[in-house]
């Protein structure tokens, strides 16, 4: 059986003396979407950074497709993508060049064609030759989304994906997420408030004082045992 996209066990993270995350048990299988809710500074971005493999856990572990998150193999990293309020785009490169660069980096075949295809999908084909520094915020975010998806990730990490999007952007983003989930991609998204997706089953959690608390219609004790998490998630 393939390991789940995300599995954390008693994951903890402290910065210096200050604990931010504590005893986080999270399991996200392929094709499932988990939403992590919390206020500013709750630790949502910290958790996503750990799942992305750029920040190491202070205690416990985070397994991404079965591998330790801070020691991911190149092949595993190929399958992970992130969208955050940082655009990860080079302002002095054109939209096309940005996408081509990341496509080559991720070993996408025919990076040029893939780049064009994705520019069209996010409605930026007309701006392929424009430098990103001239883009509006909305355009930048659409390009950032294309950047994330271009390598067909199997785990998508979204840091407040609907943060500053206009309604057109929200529609595109929602569509993308739905398509990715249908592909079997796992999604972990952070948000300020619970999300709702038509036709998509979301596993919602809240970070309360460092702990990850599942939110659902069924009453769940704050610290679900690992076994229950294993069985429970499948049934929701």
């Amino acid at each position: 059986m393939l390991p789940p996209a995300v599995e954390t066990r008693a994951l903890g993270k402290s910065f210096g003396l200050v604990p931010v995350l504590l005893d986080v048990d999270l399991r996200v299988a392929s094709g499932r979407a988990a939403v992590i809710i919390g206020g500013n500074g709750a630790g949502k971005s910290t958790l996503l950074a750990i799942l992305a493999g750029v920040s190491a856990p202070s205690s416990g572990n985070a397994l991404i497709f079965g591998q330790e998150s801070h020691r991911l193999a190149a092949d595993t990293r190929r399958n992970i993508a992130m969208l955050s309020h940082h655009s990860f785009l080079y302002p002095n490169l054109t939209a096309l060049e940005n996408l081509e660069f990341y496509a080559s980096l991720y070993g996408v075949r025919n990076p040029h064609d893939a780049a064009y295809e994705w520019l069209t999908r996010v409605g930026l084909a007309n701006f392929a030759g424009e430098r990103v520094r001239r883009f509006s915020r909305g355009m930048e975010q659409r390009l950032a989304a294309a950047r994330a998806m271009i390598a067909a990730p199997m785990l998508l990490l979204l840091d407040e994906p609907f943060g500053a999007l206009d309604s057109a952007g929200v529609a595109i983003m929602t569509d993308l997420i739905r398509t990715e989930l249908a592909r079997g991609c796992a999604v972990v998204a952070s948000a300020h408030a619970p999300m709702k997706f038509d036709g998509v089953d979301l596993d919602q959690y809240e970070i309360r004082r460092g702990r990850l608390i599942p939110l659902s219609d069924h009453a769940e004790p704050p610290r679900a045992s690992r076994l229950r998490a294993l069985l429970g998630r499948q049934n929701q």
Partner: protein, 223 residues
């Protein structure tokens, strides 16, 4: 390999578009040479030996400015995080950044050589052909150290002081060897006399490119 090429060509393309790093480095190299010319009397500071020294001084100062920028430019829009998340090997990333820094430095240094020939009463002759590989060796060693250490100094508040503080003592052997070899090249002496110096430069480069390649993963990355 593709990843190396992708990152390097991306950096070169960006530099061609803005040219900020190279222009700054050329300017600094020129300023260093100008200061030397005015600070040292014409009787003292002319000829191949003085020129060699001046050129290496320019290399060190312009290098410090430019070599770190190849790495620290990734901080804009958190692109460094995107690179760290990507499949690229940390060591390969080091190699790409090193190559970019070295290329920028060599371009700046080419301008520096022209100015040195003019300021220090030399000739545009075959000596410059013999000089080129020596400067290349120096640039590679410097860029290796700078790329590795810039990742550290970039983290410190006031890190601009830290980079020169760490690099200069480390670079001393290459500086000693490089100036003597360059002096030999410019004065038309047979290169056999500079053989030991060139040997030191090569050893220096091999040592620190390898060290950087192996150690880079420990200095790049978030908390």
């Amino acid at each position: 390999m593709t990843a190396f090429v992708a990152v390097l060509s991306k950096d070169l393309r960006l530099e061609l578009r803005s040219g900020m790093s190279t222009i700054a480095m050329v300017a600094l190299a020129m300023l260093v040479l100008v200061v030397l010319v005015f600070a040292l009397n014409p009787g003292v500071a002319r000829g191949p030996e003085a020129a060699a020294g001046a050129l290496w001084i320019a290399l060190v100062f312009a290098g410090m400015l430019g070599a770190s920028r190849a790495l620290l430019a990734e901080n804009e829009n958190a692109c460094i995080r995107a690179l760290l998340m990507s499949p690229i090997d940390r060591a390969t990333l080091f190699a790409a950044k090193l190559a970019a820094a070295a290329i920028f430095m060599m371009v700046a240094l080419a301008a520096g050589v022209v100015l040195t020939v003019l300021f220090f009463n030399l000739n545009f002759s075959g000596a410059l052909v013999r000089l080129a590989p020596i400067l290349v060796l120096g640039v590679i060693g410097f860029a290796a150290l700078a790329t590795l250490l810039a990742a550290i100094s970039g983290r410190a508040r006031g890190g601009e002081l830290l980079l020169p503080l760490l690099i200069v003592p480390l670079f001393v052997p290459a500086l000693i060897a490089g100036v003597r070899a360059a002096g030999a090249a410019l004065s038309g002496a047979p290169m056999a006399t500079a053989r030991d110096w060139i040997g030191i430069l090569i050893a220096f480069d091999v040592l620190f490119v390898t060290a950087g390649y192996l150690l880079f993963e420990h200095v790049i990355g978030e908390e």
